[in-house]
């Protein structure tokens, strides 16, 4: 069947005429249909992007493009619907790609639906006991190791490498659909193999020893890649098997429950921030005689002393502020005597179930010294706020608390994170209290405990929630502290040295520390293509095609595997943004700390403030602007080289252009974060769905559910038919439940419209405030369903999102940096949309069939 005929028939189908009919009938169908149908409707079907009732200037162009498109392009592959008779004009040959695609998805589905078979295989293995024979087992391992080494090291021609990686990639795509841990481990090993192969290739055949400049750049890049490889492998080791520890039940007899001191250290935070934490701590379900709450005020403020007295909790101050938070806690240790110590940062509001969820394991394991729970934040961090990601994309910390700590737990390497944790007093005193040598006292304390042979545990259920850092500068400051502290520990108390740790613990700790050294390598990746584009150094001394064939599998396998392992906790490519933003800032302190670990002081993370206007943090962004300028210069040089350079360099130039283009967009995303969005509310609204009853002024009860709430107010979704007309400032009373207890809170209406009621709390005493906190933030189930409704990670979608974010960054940069150009930039969006409207699209006929 010739192409033009095909095209003709496509037009017929698009116009709603059966192409199978003989010619006269087709003509008749065109002419004899009712004028309305044959006219506008047909045309509208044929040209869905043209509104024939309101013709526009570019319509002729649209029609022309659409005709070409229909005539030349095959419609999307689809299953023939039962009602629709087979279309005769589909040449069998043309259907092959579609068939292949269908076969592929069937294979994927088949493999994906066969976990039972795998399990049966595993069970059969158990019965046969093949693996129980040590000799056989080790022989198999040795064989596998030799084969793997061969697969990593055997050099290939370009074609052979393409076949090799193509096969492995297909296998990975199929295995990805198989649920269960074996498939995950398969992907991990495959990814390590692919990455090791890349690294081996880089080391063995891509360094140019002949030209000093090339060699120097190449070695620096290679070092960065070795680091990345190391972090990748260590990361796999750490997260291969999250333990998913369940809380251990406590004995029935509450008299056997141990005594707990709750420490709430504070330094300069406003009372407003500390209050809910204290109130929530008072509501923790634990025998009242066995729990003591202490406010450790390093700020020595009278306001706090009064509040503590009023609330009936302990208040501890000390004469100096040595060793900051660690010193504060250590001082409190000397003044208290509880067997266990629960520590909450002053902004972390614990839920009532905190102790019951965590204490069980202490009673089961005598050597257990620490139980850590996740840090949960109900306010957006600067990334989430400035990029509009809140609750849509997992934030930076979620990977750590959702997966890494859980994975560490398998190896008994969970570490203390400074808050939301319970520590046993005796082991803590044994190691001399909280560690004071470094600025990350928490991780170091856990390390010391574990060197003494104590265990740690992690329970991955959010049992407290707090405020994220407000501004990017504060966020960066916090990360700098962590990075510096980790580098300090790496120097002062290196987990690989010293005694008391198992190998796995050493690996987990070292990974936590090495991870913070990523600043340098990241900066190298951000500048590496410039070596070629600006200085003509062949950083990777190999043809561009080979580079692609080796580096792509490394990245694709890592991405597939990480997406499967981390998908719920970190979306693909977002790590790149986080690392890019921090790279410059943690590069310096970590390097300094590695050489001189004694330098650097503790800085308190500022919280509870607000960003009162939109602004652009130029101070933070200048390193990135410099990098962008350099990359843009490189990009321009690359384009120049494409046009005027030698022809044999074009592939390499394209590769480097692609790389630098990616860098530019990544930097754009980083810049985007620096564009601080205004934060209007003094208190953060938390979206939460709770049952409530609104007592209307007339005495009418309105059962409804909360949409969100904060310390200042709440919003309710009302049943549509029951939406009352409420005046602004009308007084209402809202009933909320804490377990079975009902509590009523007076409030004033802020707005009521469209089945939505917003109120402002009118609380008159601390007791009510306490009740409100306990009914909302401190509920046992407050944070459990936080991630519901989030879409699962898809690597390509993540990439697209990150790149789009990069474009946004430049738009914002232009808005702030050159306000005059902003209107012009504002036109870019509409212009793009207008251009898109010219594009041809499938007529309704096809779209119906495909759906």
């Amino acid at each position: 069947m010739s192409a033009p005929a095909d095209g003709w028939q496509r037009w017929l189908v698009a116009a709603g005429i059966e192409p199978g009919r003989p010619w006269p009938q087709r003509l008749a169908a065109l002419v004899l249909r009712p004028p309305a149908a044959a006219g506008l409707a047909t045309l509208a079907g044929l040209f869905p992007q043209v509104n024939f009732r309101r013709p526009r200037l570019a319509d002729p162009l649209r029609i022309l493009l659409q005709l070409l498109w229909l005539g030349l392009v095959r419609p999307p592959a689809r299953r023939p619907a039962a009602s629709c008779r087979p279309i005769p004009w589909r040449a069998p040959l043309a259907a092959i790609p579609a068939r292949l695609a269908r076969g592929w998805s069937r294979l994927e589905a088949a493999v994906g639906s066969q976990p039972g078979r795998l399990r049966r295989f595993a069970a059969a293995e158990g019965r046969l006991g093949f693996w129980d024979r040590a000799a056989l087992r080790y022989a198999a391992y040795a064989l596998a190791a030799i084969l793997a080494l061969l697969c990593i090291s055997t050099p290939f021609s370009t074609l052979a490498q393409a076949v090799f990686v193509g096969l492995l990639w297909s296998i990975a795509l199929v295995i990805r659909r198989v649920p269960g841990p074996v498939a995950t481990l398969f992907l991990i090993v495959l990814s390590v193999t692919a990455s090791s192969r890349y690294l081996w290739w880089r080391v063995s055949s891509t360094l140019n020893w002949d030209i000093a400049v090339d060699f120097l750049w190449g070695t620096v890049l290679l070092a960065a890649e070795v680091y990345t490889w190391l972090i990748l492998v260590l990361g796999y080791f750490q997260t291969a098997w999250p333990l998913k520890r369940q809380p251990a039940p406590l004995p029935e007899d509450t008299s056997r429950w141990p005594g707990v001191d709750v420490f709430i250290p504070t330094y300069n935070e406003p009372l407003k921030v500390v209050k809910p934490t204290v109130f929530a701590a008072q509501g923790i379900d634990w025998p009242a005689d066995k729990v003591n709450i202490y406010l450790l005020d390093d700020g020595r403020r009278d306001e706090f002393r009064h509040f503590a007295e009023e609330a009936g909790i302990g208040y501890i101050v000390r004469p100096d502020n040595r060793h900051a938070k660690a010193g504060n806690l250590n001082h409190a240790l000397t003044r208290t005597s509880g067997e266990y110590i629960a520590i909450f940062d002053c902004d972390h509001i614990p839920t009532r179930s905190f102790l019951q969820m965590t204490m069980g394991w202490f009673l089961r394991d005598d050597k257990l010294a620490l139980v850590q729970t996740p840090h949960h934040f109900f306010s957006p961090d600067p990334f989430e706020r400035n990029l509009g990601l809140f609750r849509r994309v997992p934030n930076e910390g979620e990977l750590f608390y959702g997966l890494i700590q859980d994975g560490n737990d398998l190896w008994n390497a969970t570490f203390f994170c400074g808050s939301c944790a319970v520590i046993k007093r005796r082991p803590l005193e044994e190691i001399g209290g909280i560690a004071v040598e470094t600025v990350t006292e928490d991780a170091h304390t856990a390390l010391k405990l574990q060197r003494r042979g104590y265990n740690t545990a992690y329970i991955s259920v959010p049992q407290a929630a707090g405020l994220a850092t407000e501004s990017l500068s504060a966020h960066i400051g916090q990360r700098i502290r962590w990075a510096r502290g980790m580098a300090q520990i790496f120097r002062l108390d290196n987990p690989y040295l010293g005694k008391g740790l198992s190998l796995a613990q050493r690996i987990c700790y070292s990974n936590a520390m090495l991870h913070f050294l990523n600043g340098g390598p990241r900066l190298v990746f951000l500048t590496a293509p410039l070596a070629f584009l600006l200085f003509h150094a062949y950083v990777i001394y190999a043809p561009a095609l080979s580079v692609a064939l080796y580096v792509l599998p490394h990245m694709v396998h890592a991405s597939l595997t990480n997406s499967r392992m981390q998908g719920g906790h970190r979306h693909s490519f977002w790590a790149e943004v986080y690392e890019t933003v921090l790279a410059w800032y943690i590069f310096r302190p970590t390097t300094v700390a590695l050489f001189n670990p004694g330098k650097g002081k503790f800085n308190v993370t500022a919280k509870g403030g607000l960003v009162d206007r939109n602004y652009f943090d130029w101070g933070i962004t200048w390193p990135y602007l410099a990098l962008v300028l350099a990359n843009l210069a490189g990009f321009a040089a690359g384009v120049g080289r494409l046009a005027w350079g030698p022809a044999d360099e074009i592939p390499t130039t394209l590769l480097n252009l692609f790389w630098t283009g990616y860098n530019v967009l990544l930097l754009g995303a980083a810049i985007s974060v620096a564009s601080e969005a205004r934060q209007v509310r003094l208190s953060h609204r938390v979206r939460l769905d709770l049952p409530a009853i609104v007592h209307l002024p007339g005495g009418k009860l309105l059962p409804c559910r909360t949409e969100d709430f904060s310390e200042g107010g709440a919003a309710f979704a009302l049943p549509a038919e029951a939406a009352p007309a409420l005046a602004r400032d009308a007084e209402v009373v809202v009933s909320l439940w804490r377990g079975r207890e009902e509590h009523a809170f007076p409030a004033r209406v802020v707005a009521a419209a469209d089945s939505r009621l917003r109120v402002r709390w009118e609380l008159f005493d601390a007791e009510q405030e306490r009740r409100l906190v306990q009914c909302t933030f401190a509920r046992a189930d407050a944070w459990v369903s936080w991630a519901d409704g989030r879409h699962r990670d898809r690597p390509l979608a993540g990439l697209r999102e990150v790149l789009a974010m990069g474009l946004t960054g430049y738009r914002r940069l232009a808005e702030h940096g050159a306000p005059l150009a902003a209107p012009l930039l504002g036109r870019v969006g509409p212009a793009l949309r207008w251009s898109a409207s010219l594009l041809p699209r499938w007529p309704a006929t096809y779209r119906q069939e495909t759906t």
């Binding site: 090291s153 481990l185 398969f186 193999t193 002949d210 333990l243 394991w361």
Partner: protein, 754 residues
């Protein structure tokens, strides 16, 4: 293979014999002129064609002062009595008669003028010039200088109408008369080999009626020595029995076994070398290699090839011969060194060869002989540290140095005019002093271009300065030089090759030449070798000597029955099929057979399936399922066969055979022609007159050793599918192992056990 090399230029530098010329491009004089058996002492006349002497069909003369040079030599034992140049040429019709002419110079002395420009347009012309024979020296430069003018004023020296082409059919007619010389060993290797004679060396060997293997062995050593001396000229050794032919010859005799004409001579008392007048014509000389027995004869032969420098007088008795140290593999003097980088200075006879003059000079050429079994898989290339100097060009943008290997461009460098430029610079140009610039560049020769014989070429080209009408000046004052300190490095490669590969044998005598003294070579002759068999053996040994540049002092010759001698050696099998009994005995191993009229060629199994192949199966040709074609036929046919020795694995056999002994020379003729020799490869080469056909049939084997990791990678690198399967298996096992252990760890942790 290298291109034809202007053989006569090379003769200037013959003191370094082995390196002088890459190919057997020896000009072959007409047989009637070359034959030394003409009645003595009357004068002989030789015609030397320009095309044979220069290797060029046409010698173009361009620009106002174009020139070309033809080199020729004259033998020490001949006197040139008359020299006549017959110049055939075609000149541009635009040339002004009277002003335009060709000046003929012999050894820089003007010997004649050829006026041009008077002939009708487009027609060739010829002119004869008699040259005074007294001007003839040992090595002679015949220079043709073109003085062309097309206009009286504002002449453009590069004008396209300034041309004259000298035909390659122009000739020198040389009449020579033999010169009586003393019987003196001092002259050796003259008069038996004279390096001024640019023709192929044809030196008869004289034996008794049935020479023993030991005698043949001694003669073989001598043949390889003459082969090394003759170098690119090639060498043949017609075998005569009992009586010497006319002219010069080498005689091998022991007291018990001597040719008839020596029957009355006194017995020698030990290994003896002597020169006597040839009794057959009185003018030729005979070199007698004698001994009491075959052992003595061997000592005499080795003394000749190793110690000829110390011989004098008409007879020398070898009292003592210190055995030379056995040669190490791959240490042939003619081959590049593999243990260290080589300086360019080591690769040429004189540093002058690295220097060129003029705007578009001839290339600087470096000949490299490389062992063919160098395993360069995944090598980034052979590093060349290139340093060069040149006069600063005026127009740097169009002046460059191109480096090529075997006429394939490797890299070009722009020549810079830093600090120089403008009109005056041309005049002030200092030569050889500080004005010459030095630069160093490191480049890599693409390793795949390395054959066993290679030529590195460095072409300088300088742009001409053209400033406008009537303002042209052309001063050929430009010179350039590749520094002798530049180096090329072939060290560090393992030796590994898939055999049989007759191409290796044809171009470099490999694998026999792996040891330059042929210590691992056993030549196997038929039980009663014919003259043709012996002649073939000696010619082949001469080729081996030419390849290594070293005589085969440890060569062994054995008969087909001597199985003990055939073990653990590379065998060179000579003999027409019916007479060489080993060919019958080993017929199962042969890739092909041409015994008598019946000819058989085994076809290897075809590689059919791409995937199957990439899985690693069925890659080697399988002789068990090979088809065999039996062909009946007659007519001349020779063949070379390569196969693994049935006696010792890893050892090679090269058999040179033919349907009849007289057809063996077909093989020798084919080997002498570079175009035919280049077509030889695989395990079987059928040689017809003027045509060769090569096949790879039968079993293959490998020689040499790879490091163990390369030995693993090399076969696997061709099988990505197999490797992917291996990867999946490995990953499955490891994933399963991880699953088991992680599950156990997790269970332990959840139980709360330590």
């Amino acid at each position: 293979m290298t291109p034809r090399f202007p053989a006569l230029i090379a003769c200037l530098f013959l003191s370094c014999l082995g390196l002088a010329a890459p190919a057997a491009a020896a000009p072959k004089a007409k047989p009637e002129a070359a034959a030394p058996e003409q009645p003595a002492p009357s004068a002989q006349v030789r015609r030397l064609l320009f095309k044979d002497m220069t290797g060029q069909a046409v010698l173009p003369l361009r620009t106002t002062e174009g020139s070309t040079v033809v080199n020729f030599g004259s033998r020490a034992d001949e006197l040139v009595t008359r020299l006549r140049l017959r110049l055939r040429y075609t000149a541009s019709p635009a040339l002004i008669p009277g002003q335009s002419h060709i000046k003929v110079l012999l050894n820089d002395e003007t010997v004649g003028i050829v006026p041009i420009g008077r002939q009708p347009a487009g027609q060739g012309a010829s002119q004869e010039i008699d040259i005074d024979p007294r001007l003839v020296a040992d090595f002679n430069r015949l220079k043709l200088l073109f003085i062309g003018h097309y206009t009286a004023e504002c002449e453009d020296p590069l004008h396209s109408s300034l041309w004259t082409d000298i035909s390659g059919l122009s000739e020198l007619e040389v009449s020579v008369r033999p010169l009586a010389i003393r019987n003196d060993l001092t002259f050796l290797p003259e008069p038996f080999f004279d390096r001024r004679d640019l023709r192929r060396l044809d030196l008869p060997f004289v034996f008794a009626a049935t020479p023993s293997t030991a005698t043949v062995q001694a003669a073989g050593t001598v043949a390889s020595w003459f082969g090394a001396l003759a170098a690119w000229r090639g060498a043949r050794f017609p075998v005569h029995r009992e009586q010497p032919p006319r002219g010069n010859a080498v005689v091998f005799a022991t007291n018990g076994e001597r040719p008839a004409f020596l029957a009355s001579a006194p017995a020698v008392a030990g290994p003896t070398l002597s020169v006597i007048a040839n009794p057959a014509d009185g003018a030729g000389k005979l070199l007698l290699v004698q001994g009491r027995d075959s052992r003595d004869l061997g000592i005499a032969a080795r003394a000749l090839v190793l110690g000829h420098a110390g011989l004098s007088g008409s007879q020398a008795v070898v009292k003592e011969l210190k055995e030379e140290v056995p040669r190490q593999p791959y240490d042939a003097p003619n081959w590049v060194r593999l243990d260290r980088p080589m300086k360019f200075g080591e690769l040429v006879a004189s540093p002058q060869e690295l220097q060129v003059f003029g705007h578009v000079p001839d290339a600087v050429r470096l000949n490299l002989r490389i062992p063919p079994d160098l395993f360069t898989w995944r090598s980034r290339g052979v590093p060349v540290d290139l340093k060069y100097r040149y006069s600063p060009p005026i127009r740097a943008s169009e002046s460059r140095l191109s480096m090529s290997i075997n006429d394939e461009l490797v890299q070009s460098f722009n020549l810079r005019s830093s600090g120089q430029g403008g009109e005056s610079a041309r005049i002030r140009l200092p030569l050889l002093d500080d004005g010459l610039q030095g630069e160093s560049q490191e480049v890599f020769i693409p390793a795949f271009k390395l054959g066993s014989r290679n030529q590195l070429q460095f072409n300088f080209s300088f742009a001409y300065q053209k400033e406008g009408h009537c303002r042209d000046t052309l001063v050929e004052n430009v010179r350039a030089m590749v520094d002798a300190d530049s180096q090329v490095d072939f060290s560090g490669y393992p030796h590994y090759a898939e055999m049989p590969h007759l191409g290796y044998f044809a171009t470099s005598g490999f694998p026999f030449t792996k040891y330059a003294d042929l210590s691992n070579t056993v030549a196997v002759l038929p039980e009663s070798p014919t003259a043709a068999d012996l002649e073939t053996l000696f010619a082949l040994l001469a080729r081996l000597g030419e390849s290594t540049g070293y005589p085969g002092t440890r060569l062994r010759v054995a008969g087909p029955g001597d199985e003990a001698a055939l073990r653990d050696a590379d065998l060179l099998l000579i003999g027409a099929s019916p007479r060489q009994s080993l060919l019958q005995r080993w017929s199962a191993s042969l890739p092909a057979a041409i015994a008598g009229p019946g000819r058989r060629i085994a076809q290897p199994v075809r590689k059919v399936n791409f995937l199957y192949d990439w899985l690693g199966f069925g890659t080697a040709p399988d002789p068990a399922v090979a088809s065999q074609a039996g062909i009946e036929g007659d007519g001349p046919l020779a063949a070379m066969l390569g196969f693994e020795s049935p006696l010792t694995s890893g050892r090679s056999v090269v058999a040179v055979t033919a349907v009849a002994p007289e057809h063996l020379s077909l093989a020798l003729d084919a080997l002498e022609q570079p175009t035919l020799a280049r077509g030889m490869h695989g395990s079987a080469v059928f040689i017809h007159p003027q045509k060769v056909e090569s096949f790879l049939a039968g079993k293959t084997y490998v020689i040499g050793e790879l490091p163990w990791w390369t030995a693993l990678w090399f076969p696997l690198s061709g099988h990505p599918v197999l490797l992917a399967c291996m990867a999946v298996l490995a990953v499955l096992i490891l994933a399963f192992a991880l699953w088991r252990s992680l599950r156990a760890v997790a269970a332990k942790r959840v139980e709360g056990r330590p």
